[in-house]
């Protein structure tokens, strides 16, 4: 029984097609990343998945059945921007959200306090939300999505705008949920975040799925076409069009994308002939590169 199944869902607002024939499957217990540039249709997809909007066509299934409102009690949602009552006290707010998800007032309060303690908000439960820093507000929002212990947590850009230490705290809580067997879905435009956390991904662009599935398999499918080279001396070899399709100079090292059909050993020889190499490493392609390539193919 898959946690989520989207079957050819489509959503348009007037002439603008936000999501176009998108299909994907999220399995129980996995961390799923919905990736894509800004405006790709990530938020529209998430909203349809949790019943905030309804697709023009296609089917959304949750927990193995077509979406019903009873499902809402089993999922938690963290919106992209702060979705909290600014004037409301932190604890009151969390209890309210918990109660809407079917908790009793007492249970909601107990769990909210536990979470606040865990995320270092213990001294802030009696403060109004507007008195909190942005990072703290995001933590409150996070607790709001989790306070009813949902099986499936949906987060829209959970790490955006967070300082590194707050992001770390959230990431740890995130992984704890995964260990506890929850299914997690989050959207991001940061490929590196997705790369570190996700089991599976769906890359979307202009409302269409460009790539979908297990991240490891996707990567293997793209092969090791990248080489990281650290060198001193002549950089002539980088301009050999037979071997190098493109390269990116990061200062400390250069990342080279091999030309189609080129052998990495030929590049090694060419480089060694003119420069002193201190590093020559074959790399799996980064998600970013996969994305760029996949989009390029799709557009071609």
């Amino acid at each position: 029984m898959n946690t989520v199944e989207l079957n050819k869902i489509r959503k348009s607002y007037d002439e603008f097609v936000a999501v176009d024939d998108l299909s994907l499957i999220i399995r129980p217990g996995e961390v799923y990343g919905l990736l894509g540039p800004n405006g790709a249709g990530k938020t529209s997809t998430l909203r349809m998945m949790i019943g905030i909007t309804v697709p023009d066509s296609g089917v959304v299934s949750l927990f193995g059945e077509p979406l019903r409102r009873e499902h809402m009690q089993r999922l938690g949602y963290l919106p992209e921007e702060r979705g909290l009552y600014k004037k409301m006290k932190v604890l009151d707010q969390l209890v309210f959200l918990g109660q809407l998800k079917g908790l009793s007032g007492h249970d909601a309060s107990r769990r909210a306090l536990q979470w606040c303690e865990r995320l270092g908000l213990k001294d802030w439960t009696d403060k109004k939300v507007e008195e909190l820093s942005k990072g703290m507000q995001q933590k409150v929002q996070f607790i709001g999505a989790l306070v009813h212990d949902p099986q499936f947590v949906v987060m829209d850009e959970p790490f955006s705008g967070l300082d590194p230490s707050s992001a770390m705290v959230l990431k740890d809580a995130f992984l704890e949920l995964k260990t506890a067997g929850k299914t997690l879905l989050f959207s991001t435009h940061r490929m590196d975040t997705a790369e570190r956390l996700c089991d599976s991904i769906c890359l979307i662009n202009h409302g269409r799925a460009v790539l979908e599935g297990d991240l490891g398999k996707i990567r293997t499918g793209y092969g090791k076409r990248n080489v990281q080279i650290k060198y001193e001396g002549d950089s002539q070899f980088l301009h050999n069009a037979k071997l190098v399709q493109s390269f990116n100079d990061y200062g400390n090292y250069v990342e080279v994308r091999l030309a189609p059909g080129a052998d990495s050993q030929d590049l090694l020889h060419a480089a060694a002939a003119h420069a002193r190499l201190s590093k020559f490493e074959l790399m799996e392609p980064s998600l970013e590169e996969i994305f760029i390539e996949a989009v390029g193919k799709a557009n071609a």
Partner: protein, 448 residues
């Protein structure tokens, strides 16, 4: 299984209500408005009664001391209708003959000096005494002046409108008494002749006679209209603002992942609405406590008698009217993107309310006329007009029922509509939609 929808609506009502009632601004407004009202009405009234409580020293200049004495008696008499000191026994019988102005007039005090010297020199002397502050003024009531019915009051202050008309009345009375005395009709007989007519109206309702007071009834209807008007202006906007606020902060995305938009709208409407009712309730209680002695007195004397049906109709139509107008505000809140835009639309909301105020006169005069019957069915007018008809003359039951039904259906319809506009409107942000776009949204939202 418990009903998710009702539980959610209740939770939202509770949150809206408690969060608003707990704010400092709620407390301040609740206390400040009565204070301002007190400042605007009670203090000036107190001031003017304090002033008139002072004894006015008047000189009455007449051709004969006898007439002077009659005038004096009229002016120093505790005014009670138009009676004089001569028929005190009559006054006790007619205890409920008091009129509203009485409390004010009884506080007026005159010290009268009779002067039968009407020479020019005397006039100059009196003028000097007025200037010196020795007396407050004098009345020139010589036989010539009486014959011409042209009496002049000379004083430092020209006197208020009320005072002038009262004075004229008392002088009329005095002159008539004098004339009657000259024709051999004196004392009690003369007063009996001059006793004014008091018109009492009895309202026949369902075969019963109810002593009714047109003034009091008009007052009751008008009070309701003002209350509705105030409530709509004050709290309708806060419903609009509540919807708008949620839209801008995206809280609704979180809420919509738990509740439906209809539950949200109903919860907001009722929650914010209840805040308004609480505040109005507090004010009514405060006013009642302040006015209780006077109110109890006038109820016991039958001055104000509002039948229970009218009171029930008041509560019902006020609540429904309030809900209806608030739901329109909510819809506007769902469509607009900023409060400024909302302000432009506010007049449109208030228009039906203003029209129904203008309709009050014709409906009151002819509560059974077709125009009155049909306008009192129209949901936007019925809170005022149907209530007015019930207060004036109980309309047929089917008309009341139909009007209520239409009103409730319209509220439900608006709520339904709002919920849909709200849901789509919130998720589309940005510009204000055009009418065709709203229609399209309603189609999008069919499945929600």
């Amino acid at each position: 299984m418990r009903n998710l929808g009702l539980t959610n609506t209740w939770l939202i009502i509770k949150r809206e209500y408690l969060e608003r009632v707990r704010t400092r601004s709620f407390l301040v407004l609740t206390l400040l408005l009565p204070a301002i009202m007190a400042g605007a009405f009670i203090i000036p009234a107190k001031l003017s009664s304090m002033k008139s409580a002072q004894t006015q020293r008047l000189v009455v200049v007449t051709s004969t001391p006898q007439f002077g004495e009659i005038v004096r008696q009229q002016l120093v008499a505790k005014p009670d209708g138009a009676t004089t000191v001569a028929d005190k026994e009559d006054k006790d019988k007619d205890d409920d003959d008091k009129d509203l102005g009485k409390a004010d007039e009884s506080s007026r005090n005159y010290a009268i000096e009779i002067d039968s010297n009407s020479s020019d020199a005397e006039r100059t002397a009196l003028q000097n005494r007025v200037d010196a502050g020795n007396i407050d003024g004098y009345l020139w009531l010589t036989d010539d002046a009486v014959a011409a019915r042209k009496v002049t009051y000379y004083g430092r202050q020209a006197g208020g409108f009320m005072e002038k008309s009262w004075l004229a009345g008392q002088l009329d009375h005095a002159i008539l008494l004098q004339e009657l005395a000259q024709r051999g009709v004196g004392g009690a007989q003369a007063n009996a002749l001059l006793k004014p007519v008091k018109l009492e109206t009895i309202r026949v309702e369902a075969g019963h006679e109810t002593k009714s007071n047109g003034q009091a009834m008009f007052f009751a209807v008008f009070a309701m209209v003002m209350l509705l008007y105030t409530a709509v202006i004050f709290y309708g906007v806060s419903v609009m603002r509540a919807v708008l606020e949620e839209k801008n902060s995206r809280v609704m995305e979180v809420l919509l992942s738990s509740a439906t938009s209809t539950e949200l709208m109903a919860g907001k409407l009722i929650g914010v609405g209840a805040v308004g009712l609480t505040q109005i309730g507090i004010w009514i209680v405060m006013a009642a406590v302040y006015a209780f002695p006077a109110l109890a007195a006038s109820v016991s004397t039958g001055e104000i008698r509002i039948p229970p049906l009218t009171l029930a109709a008041f509560a019902l139509f006020f609540l429904l009217g309030y809900l209806l107008y608030s739901s329109v505000y909510a819809a506007i809140g769902a469509v607009i993107t900023s409060e400024q835009e909302g302000q432009q639309l506010q007049f449109i909301i208030l228009l039906p309310l203003i029209i129904s105020v203008f309709m009050m006169g014709p409906v009151m005069r002819a509560p059974d006329a077709p125009i009155a019957v049909w306008t009192s069915m129209v949901p936007f007018f019925s809170p005022v007009l149907m209530y007015l008809r019930i207060a004036v003359q109980t309309p047929p039951l089917w008309q009341i029922a139909l009007s209520l039904l239409l009103l409730v259906a319209t509220i439900a319809g608006f709520l339904f509509l709002c919920a849909r506009i709200y849901r789509i409107g919130i998720l589309m942000y940005g510009k204000r939609p055009t009418l065709p776009e709203i229609v399209k949204w309603l189609q999008y939202a069919k499945g929600l």
